[in-house]
């Protein structure tokens, strides 16, 4: 899975925000705010990743156990999937 194109992730004054750009501005009016791990996973999903790859990357980055990482990844992917942001 990976993110659909048409979003730009920026850190502006310590806030991590994602805004639609290009064609996506027609279908999505709004902005997404992410915490640190959310921004990390968002960046990971810029290229095709499996759930396992995301869990391993999150564990490496934040030094957390597999169960916690798996729960975080599942929740994040579920939110993105429901919003139609994944392909």
């Amino acid at each position: 899975m990976k993110l659909i194109s048409g979003f730009s992730l920026r850190t502006i004054a310590d806030s991590r925000v994602v805004v639609p750009v290009g064609e996506t501005t027609i279908s999505f009016k709004g902005m997404i705010t992410l915490n640190g791990s959310g921004a990390f996973l968002w960046e990971q999903l810029g290229t095709d990743k499996t759930e396992t790859e995301l869990v391993l990357a999150l564990q490496d980055e934040y030094e957390i156990d597999e169960q916690t990482a798996l729960l975080d990844v599942k929740q994040f992917v579920e939110v993105l999937s429901r919003a139609g942001f994944l392909q």
Binding site: S5, I12, G30
Partner: protein, 294 residues
């Protein structure tokens, strides 16, 4: 070719409705032989052929292709007839924009000149954005060499509020642009500029002023103002600084401007009704050292 200086951009232009634009741009005429920032040309045609080039994308009724010389062409279909109603051909950096309009495009509200006004406004905005500026949807005033932009969705009352300032302070206030003022960073500081693209009204002035505040308006029974936190400021600004559907990279550049604005200009949320008290509340907040009572 005629010349204008708009928000510091040297523009050479040739418009189809010359009389309309001569009038609209009369305050911006320039005789400077400076380096050109934008070449803008509009022509009207009996028929417009599909632009040749490599297909890039179809977005609703717009087809985007890239020609061999690198120019990007965006053709827009007329919904009624299915014919090409307009083609906007530009260099990738938007330094040269040629707009072709179909003579027989009909619309219940918009005339051909209205379309010319809109497309030339987009061309100016795109070039300004490319050069690091932005156009903010709002009504802008200047007072004591300080610029304030009142922003909101259409119909909320930003023009009404700006007019209250004009009525109250009279000659002390200039309405700089009633719809889409330009913003540019000069030596790291934000400045607000008038442009001739001011929406439905002709309210604009060739004026520049340091940008002192951006105020987002919400209708309310009460009048109060608060400074927005960073996240809410970004949300409000990103919703009123248009990102073009046809160029994602250019849209991403507007975020650079937002980042600069967040760190240099206070952004407020104003809840207000139509009254001088609303003006007072904003004035006292922005020019804190000079309280007024009404």
């Amino acid at each position: 070719m005629k010349r204008a200086n708009i928000a510091g951009l040297h523009i050479e232009y040739s418009m189809a409705d010359a009389a309309f634009f001569d009038y609209r741009l009369r305050s911006y005429v320039s005789h400077d032989i400076a380096d050109r920032d934008l070449l803008l040309r509009t022509t009207v045609h009996e028929h417009i052929d599909s632009p040749h080039g490599q297909f890039i994308k179809q977005i609703k009724s717009a087809t985007i292709v890239q020609a061999q010389d690198g120019h990007i062409a965006r053709s827009i279909l007329d919904r009624e007839t299915g014919k090409i109603a307009a083609v906007v051909r530009s260099k990738p950096d938007y330094s040269e924009v040629e707009i072709q309009l179909w003579k027989h495009r009909s619309h219940p509200i918009f005339t051909l000149t209205d379309y010319e006004y809109m497309y030339t406004g987009f061309a100016f905005k795109d070039r300004l954005t490319y050069l690091g500026g932005a156009v903010l949807h709002g009504s802008a005033i200047a007072m004591n060499n300080a610029g304030i932009i009142f922003s909101a969705n259409s119909g909320v009352g930003k023009s009404t509020h700006a007019n209250l300032w004009k009525q109250y302070f009279k000659d002390e206030v200039t309405i700089v642009n009633d719809d889409k003022p330009a913003i540019r960073m000069l030596n790291g500081l934000p400045y607000m500029f008038g442009t001739p693209w001011s929406g439905k009204t002709e309210l604009n002035a060739n004026v520049q002023a340091p940008l002192k505040a951006i105020v987002f308006i919400k209708r309310s029974d009460r009048n109060d103002i608060e400074r927005l936190n960073t996240r809410d400021s970004i949300f409000a600004l990103s919703s009123q600084i248009e990102r073009p559907y046809y160029d994602g990279q250019l849209g991403a550049q507007t975020l650079d401007v937002i980042e600069q604005l967040i760190t240099t200009v206070p952004v407020y949320q104003l809840h207000c009704n139509i009254s001088y008290e609303a003006v007072q509340v904003v004035y006292n907040k922005i020019f804190a050292e000079k309280e007024i009572t009404i």
